[in-house]
């Protein structure tokens, strides 16, 4: 034993310390962290997907509106690709070398080990010739999935379209979507995407380091089968939907028809429309660019006019005056006002189309008398029970908004717009406390700062048809085998007007269509009592818009309808007959022989705004001069002058003051 013996312990100690360092590191990577365990899983696990068929969409008569057609995507797993005859492959699928390289690089960047789409949606012919020779191209395989086919080529705005998912969609899908998947991007396809898409099937496969499959993971315990999308039944009646689209051909506007009792939308026409099949398949991108091209399609094809178009309700608002007047008790059906051909709001004259003399409710509505409507509005505003007219206005605004104006109705489509109906705050901001009913008098005849969508107008007709309530309009009446529907689409929303007050109003609307002095006689239908009103909305950029709203039959109504034809002049010329053809077709299943020539004539009419003249940038539709004025004013507040101090508040604006009554109110029919 020498004194160097102690060095034994230093060396042994070193061995132990190094051993402990190894064990410590091992403890960290094996026990303390599960990072490596998860990496091992992702090493060997590959998820293979099977794609479900998207849900079928039917119309209310169980007619199939959408089918699924198989398409074949050519897939590639880059690291399995071996040398092959590139030329014959690109010849079979019909692409050039440049595109081949681009696609291949893209797939390689995405993943060398996972399949990526090489060429989308091969035609059946290409698929047939390719599948015979596929074994010549190692690393390539064909994956089938389905795409939409819309056999009627109609109702594009209703369906919307299905498109490849964006990065954002993938991020928001909680891991469901992967690049190359498809998702509903507009219309019902978007709104009901969760129902329609079904559930992808997943097969968990184990792969070795050379990417050779080694069987299923955990005996397939975590595998799932693909589940097809749910069947969805639409409320549309495709007979009138197609008729409506034919009638609106070469015109700009909307048709909305609702079944009053249920709120089910029977027709949903937005013109110009587009063939939904254009938004399917390999040409989707090009077709889309064409459709939004201002030169080829100047009238904004993708605007869903029934829920996005803003129009002054105009005369179609007058029944609401009468209803609120009756409910508030400021008039009764026999209350008479005198119409000398105009109405004096303070010292400002609002013209009436006719000199109606003494006129009561029924005839007032049938003749669409401005004077009558404005007297009722004046009485509502001047009620003694309110502190001032601004409070009265708020009460009126509340009651009107119960009819669904100025708010989204909650239809089951994306991107509905609310329209405009302002509270007193808006006017207080604009005029201080220095305003009264004469300032907003044009609202009494549905003009001024009030915008409604065609859907809201049709819904008002449904309310009148129902004598006091509406069900939220909707396009899908049943989902899946169990015919589920959201509760909100079954609930009645009462508008706060007693049912008895509707009859006199409906009398007036019946006369408008059926009496010799009515303004909408063009919409009468043999043996059916149609009730309705025409409207004409002034358009500063061209001819006036033609409007008709109504419902039929008078008792137990089956259809409420709003038709707007832009730039078509008087409501009686275009909108009223179109509405009657739709209603007749719906109620009788065919249109009377003597009207068929009229239907054909209507289909052939071309009523398009003069090209290039409109310089619209943001808002697709501005309909009347008054609104345009107010819009301009809002944009340049400096120029807005409130009524000068010396002018009494009741004396409304003159032309120069720039308030909403700046222009003579257009007489409406």
């Amino acid at each position: 034993m020498d004194n160097l013996f102690n060095r034994k312990y230093i060396i042994q100690g070193l061995f132990i310390v190094v051993g402990l360092i190894l064990l410590g590191t091992l403890f960290y990577i094996q026990v303390a962290s599960d990072k490596y365990f998860l990496s091992a899983e992702s090493n060997v696990l590959r998820k293979l997907y099977t794609f479900p068929a998207r849900g079928v969409i039917l119309d209310r008569n169980d007619k199939v509106l959408v089918q699924n057609e198989p398409v074949y995507d050519l897939m590639v797993i880059p690291n399995q690709v071996k040398e092959f005859d590139t030329l014959s492959l690109i010849n079979i699928i019909g692409i050039d070398m440049k595109r081949f390289k681009k696609s291949f690089n893209k797939a390689t960047v995405q993943s060398r080990y996972q399949p990526s789409i090489f060429e989308k949606q091969l035609s059946v012919q290409v698929y047939a010739s390719l599948s015979e020779q596929l074994s010549r191209f190692p690393g390539f395989f064909v994956q089938s999935r389905t795409v939409r086919y819309y056999p009627d080529s109609a109702a594009g705005h209703f369906f919307g379209y299905v498109k490849e998912v964006s990065k954002k969609d993938i991020e928001q899908s909680d891991g469901y979507y992967r690049p190359g998947d498809y998702i509903g991007k507009a219309g019902v396809e978007k709104q009901y995407n969760d129902v329609l898409r079904g559930e992808k099937g997943i097969i968990n496969m184990l792969y070795d380091a050379h990417n050779v499959p080694k069987g299923s993971y955990a005996e397939g315990k975590f595998d799932t089968l693909a589940r097809s999308g749910e069947k969805v039944v639409s409320s549309l009646d495709f007979r009138i939907q197609k008729l409506g689209e034919q009638l609106m051909k070469n015109k700009v506007g909307s048709i909305v028809a609702i079944e009053p009792a249920t709120g089910e939308i029977l027709a949903f026409v937005s013109s110009p429309g587009y063939d939904p099949n254009l938004m399917v398949g390999r040409q989707q991108g090009n077709n889309y660019m064409d459709l939004i091209n201002q030169e080829k399609n100047p009238n904004r094809v993708f605007t869903v006019r029934p829920i996005q178009g803003y129009y002054s309700p105009g005369s179609s608002f007058k029944p609401l005056d009468a209803l609120l007047g009756l409910q508030e008790g400021v008039i009764d059906p026999n209350t008479t006002f005198n119409c000398p051909g105009y109405y004096m709001a303070g010292n400002h004259k609002v013209k009436c189309e006719h000199v109606d003399g003494n006129i009561a409710l029924r005839k007032g509505l049938a003749r669409s008398c401005n004077t009558y409507a404005l007297y009722v509005f004046q009485r509502l505003m001047q009620q003694k029970k309110f502190k001032n007219q601004r409070v009265a206005y708020d009460e009126w605004q509340q009651r009107v908004s119960k009819f669904g104006l100025g708010q989204k109705l909650g239809v089951d489509l994306p991107a509905e717009r609310p329209g405009n109906l302002y509270t007193s705050d808006h006017y207080n901001k604009k005029y201080g406390n220095r305003w009264g009913y004469t300032t907003v008098i044009s609202l009494g005849i549905g003009q001024g700062e009030m915008d409604a969508t065609p859907l809201q107008m049709a819904n008002i007709m449904a309310i009148i048809a129902n004598r006091g309530y509406y069900v939220k309009p909707h396009l899908i009446k049943a989902i899946g085998e169990n015919k589920v529907i959201k509760k909100e689409y079954a609930r009645k929303n009462y508008v706060g007007v007693d049912a008895r007050h509707f009859e006199p109003v409906i009398d007036g609307m019946q006369d408008a269509v059926n009496a010799p002095w009515g303004t909408a006689r063009q919409s009468a239908i043999d043996n059916i009592l149609m009730c309705g009103k025409t409207g004409t909305v002034q358009n500063p950029r061209g001819k006036n818009h033609s409007v008709f709203i109504g419902f039929a039959p008078r008792d137990n109504p089956k259809i409420a309808i709003a038709v707007i034809v832009e730039n078509a002049g008087y409501g009686s010329t275009y909108a009223a007959p179109i509405a009657s053809y739709i209603a007749e077709k719906y109620l009788k299943d065919s249109i009377a022989v003597n009207k068929r020539a009229g239907v054909e004539w209507m289909k052939k009419q071309v009523i398009l705004p003069e090209p290039k003249k409109p310089k619209l940038k943001v808002k697709p539709i501005l309909t009347d001069s008054l609104k345009k004025d107010s819009a301009q004013k809002t944009l340049s507040p400096v120029k807005i002058l409130p009524a000068p101090a010396h002018v009494p508040i009741t004396a409304p604006a003159t032309v120069k003051t720039g308030i909403s009554t700046v222009k003579p109110i257009t007489p409406t029919k």
């Binding site: 051993g19 190894l22 990496s39």
Partner: protein, 421 residues
């Protein structure tokens, strides 16, 4: 004495060591089986498969080991210069003959068997070091004895570096431990440690910070020892050498190392991540070991192992199979077995009467220690990938036999400890 002579196999041989040896070989066999196992192929036992071959290697290794026990203990001391000389000749030969074998310069083909002279050089060198110390009893206080020892170790190290086989060359640094035990100053170990620290620092810290830092620390020591001239001078020398070393490392690294060796070092230091490239082995090995968690995925259940994600798994990366299928428990067991073996050999070495046996024992323990530390360290990513096998466990006849010979020579010497050599 005669009884002992007659029964020396059963009484004098250290059966604990043999038990540990057999245990490690068995663990090796089981895990080689697992790393070769392929569930989609019919798995009848086959001697053509790697595990079958390994079984043959183990049996032949045992025969070889016990034959060594039958030899005369004096043989090793007497013939050590010859053995050393022969292995050096083989190392030279491999540089000539080996070049003619495609790609690999470390092997000499002998029929179907491939001889790896660097393995033999380890015990050749160990024998000669032991002989040198036992004959001249140097205390390594003088430059001459240090020089002699350095030459004995340096020749094979240099020849192996020419192959070039960094890993095997590195193992020759393990001879520092026996020399330290025999009197070499502890400063050499510290200098060695310092070289490693500086080496790593050279890559992690930019030179414009590192060199002033070293000069500052050196200056501080020089200033503190300004009155003790001898110490001050050595401080100056150390500082100068340290700076020179840094430049040398950089130059060596940039000029002499192969690109793949550079990437390996960079990956180990965390300067580069390249999962599909050079770091792939280590990452997959870490994933395999880490996924074993506490108790492992079970025999033949490791997906990393089964599906071939870890390259060279039956040879250099066999530890990843143990980690994956047997978990921390398995790793703990293996490392503990090694520690027992190493500590046991040191204890046996210390009970030797002959210096030759003691020094040789230290050599054996140190060589094994280097292999175990470097191999396991590389599979868990704390040491760069240096292709050296895990003793007794990694697949391969050549390495198993040479480790067996290395160990059993010592067992023979130990069984004969009462005699004089």
């Amino acid at each position: 004495m005669t009884t002992q002579q007659g029964n020396r196999f059963f009484f004098n041989v250290d059966w604990i060591t043999i038990l540990l040896y057999v245990a490690l070989c068995s663990i090796g066999f089981v895990n080689i089986y697992a790393s070769i196992f392929n569930e989609s192929v019919a798995n009848e036992f086959s001697f053509a498969a790697k595990y079958g071959k390994q079984l043959i290697y183990i049996i032949t290794a045992l025969i070889l080991g016990f034959s060594i026990l039958l030899l005369d203990a004096k043989f090793f001391s007497v013939f050590s210069p010859i053995v050393y000389g022969l292995t050096m000749l083989l190392l030279v030969a491999v540089l000539v003959v080996g070049r003619k074998v495609a790609g690999n310069q470390a092997w000499i083909p002998l029929g179907s068997f491939r001889l790896q002279p660097s393995e033999l050089a380890k015990f050749g060198t160990a024998l000669l070091i032991a002989r040198y110390v036992s004959t001249f009893n140097p205390k390594f206080r003088d430059v001459k004895s240090i020089f002699f020892a350095a030459v004995i170790v340096g020749i094979p190290l240099f020849l192996i570096l020419l192959q070039p086989d960094m890993g095997s060359a590195l193992v020759f640094l393990s001879f520092m431990f026996p020399l330290y035990r025999e009197g070499l100053s502890g400063y050499f170990l510290l200098i060695f440690l310092g070289m490693i620290v500086l080496f790593i620092a050279d890559f992690l810290v930019p030179a414009q910070i590192l060199i002033p830092l070293i000069l500052a620390i050196g200056g501080l020591f020089i200033y503190q020892n300004r009155r003790k001239h001898k110490v001050m001078i050595s401080c100056i020398i150390v500082t100068v050498i340290a700076v020179a070393y840094l430049f040398l490392v950089k130059a060596t690294y940039e000029r002499l190392l192969e690109p793949h060796q550079r990437t390996r070092i960079e990956i180990m230091l965390g300067l580069k991540t390249d999962p599909k490239g050079a770091g792939y082995n280590v990452i997959q090995s870490k994933i395999a070991i880490g996924s074993g968690q506490l108790t492992g995925r079970g025999f033949l259940e490791g997906t990393q192992t089964k599906y071939g994600y870890v390259p060279e798994q039956s040879t250099d990366f066999i530890f990843s199979t143990i980690g994956e299928e047997w978990g921390f428990v398995g790793c703990f067991t293996v490392i503990t077995l090694y520690l027992f073996l190493l500590l046991r050999i040191i204890n046996l070495a210390e009970r030797q009467r002959s210096t030759f046996s003691r020094v040789y024992g230290y050599c054996v323990a140190s060589i094994l220690f280097f292999h175990v530390f470097i191999n396991i360290g590389m599979t868990i990513g704390i040491i760069p990938v240096i292709g050296i096998p895990l003793p007794f466990i990694s697949y391969g006849g050549s390495s198993l036999w040479s480790f067996t010979v290395l160990l059993f020579i010592f067992l023979k010497l130990d069984s004969n400890r009462m005699g004089f050599i």
